[in-house]
């Protein structure tokens, strides 16, 4: 499969998958499309960084950072809480499948594999959380700049 075909598949599938998950957790209808864009942006950032060999952690941090910024943008535009766009958007990134694999290996008795997977779950979830932390830092900085500007204007 060529790289362009792969790109098209990754784009459409992350968009559609995010919207489908958004329906499962009962997102208001008028936010569905925005959720899809957030999920697409986060996953494409992760995927392209991971493809060029940045490693799992950096790719996850950047993915959730981009996704968080998109969430902030849509939250301001649509006047809805940012969490509405963040939670469906992180679905392609979250380590749910890895968490299941960890427990599955544990049930089957291969402890060393289970330990590897558990460690990976914690790292990835932590990386995503750090990405969102950077997002909230960014939003704080922009609010401060805006306040500063309005305070010097008159």
């Amino acid at each position: 499969m060529t790289i362009w075909m792969e790109l098209i598949v990754q784009t459409t599938f992350s968009y559609v998958g995010t919207i489908a998950f958004a329906i499962m957790i009962n997102i208001p209808r008028r936010a569905l499309n925005a959720c899809g864009w957030c999920g697409l942006a986060g996953w494409l950032t992760f995927w392209s960084l991971y493809r060029i060999g940045s490693g799992r952690m950096v790719a996850n941090v950047m993915g959730s950072l981009v996704l968080g910024l998109m969430g902030l943008y849509f939250a301001r535009k649509k006047k809805m809480p940012a969490i509405l766009f963040n939670i469906p958007g992180i679905v392609p990134l979250v380590p749910g499948a890895t968490a299941y694999q960890a427990v599955y290996e544990m049930v089957l008795g291969s402890v060393s594999k289970a330990a590897i997977y558990t460690f990976r779950v914690l790292l990835v979830a932590g990386a995503i959380a750090v990405g969102f932390m950077l997002t909230s830092l960014f939003s704080e900085i922009t609010t401060k700049i805006r306040q500063y500007r309005t305070s010097i204007k008159p």
């Binding site: 809805m80 939670i87 990134l93 599955y104 959380a129």
Partner: protein, 262 residues
């Protein structure tokens, strides 16, 4: 004979009671629907502030929340028994709180509207949710497996949808925690095994990864870590524990199916 002073005092205490009720109701709905804790505390403090109670104290955990007014003898507690993700409720509480801040609705109207949100927030119809879980399973299978396994696309989606339905109906039928995930995962494992045996699917690992996507607690786990980073250690720990228990139930269900049939 009651004089004017007592009547005024009674009215004030009634109003305080209504403020407390409204704040706790808003908080309970938001925690039950999976909101972040800082948003819950923020919303409650705002409602209390806009209702004229300046010195409110709020303490939230995922299993219960306390509200009190500094310097007065009142302090109330509400218990929280179910924790799901239903973001439409979070959005509605948010909108109502904004309207109340802009004085478009009164405190009594806010309270009644919140009760309406609690009872009557519509869900997407079940067939649409089923379809969504089918789509989630098949798309995430392609994204996660990384090998573009087109042969297993449809069967993975169908099994994922069936697992979702099983989880849904068992949740209605029983109150036992984590049983629905366990049984649904067992069914998913069993059907996936059957499908591969009947040559409907090829790679059982890929089929399973897709099919359990509607069940796995990836989002609660990540939210738990976000709560922890935001300084809500108690909330983060409890939510992470719940997510871990769910993952254990799912892994145990699949493992059980494999132990029996392989």
């Amino acid at each position: 004979m009651r004089d004017a002073q007592t009547i005024v005092a009674e009215m004030a205490s009634e109003r305080i009671q209504l403020v407390i009720d409204t704040c706790l109701l808003a908080g309970r709905i938001m925690i039950e629907s999976g909101s972040e804790m800082y948003r819950v505390e923020d919303t409650i403090t705002r409602i209390a502030h806009n209702a004229g109670v300046e010195n409110s104290v709020i303490y939230t955990t995922p299993t219960g929340l306390f509200f009190s007014v500094k310097g007065s003898a009142v302090s109330e507690l509400r218990q929280i028994n179910s924790r799901t993700i239903n973001l439409e409720k979070v959005q509605r509480v948010n909108t109502l709180s904004r309207k109340f801040a802009e004085k478009q609705i009164s405190l009594r109207e806010l309270h009644d509207a919140l009760e309406d949100v609690d009872q009557n927030t519509p869900l997407f119809p079940l067939w649409l949710q089923f379809l969504a879980s089918v789509v989630v399973s098949s798309t995430m299978m392609i994204l996660f497996s990384g090998v573009y396994d087109w042969n297993d696309l449809i069967i993975s989606g169908v099994i994922g949808g069936l697992g979702f339905l099983a989880n849904y109906y068992i949740n209605i039928w029983t109150r036992v925690k984590f049983l629905s995930e366990l049984v649904a995962a067992f069914l998913v494992g069993f059907i996936a095994y059957l499908a591969v045996q009947l040559h409907l699917g090829q790679n059982i690992n890929n089929v399973l990864i897709g099919a359990i996507m509607p069940l796995v607690p990836g989002v609660p786990l990540t939210n738990a870590l976000r709560d922890m980073f935001a300084g809500h250690l108690m909330t983060g720990t409890l939510r992470a524990l719940e997510a871990g228990m769910t993952a254990c139930a799912i892994g145990a269900g699949i493992g059980l199916a494999f132990r029996i049939f392989f």
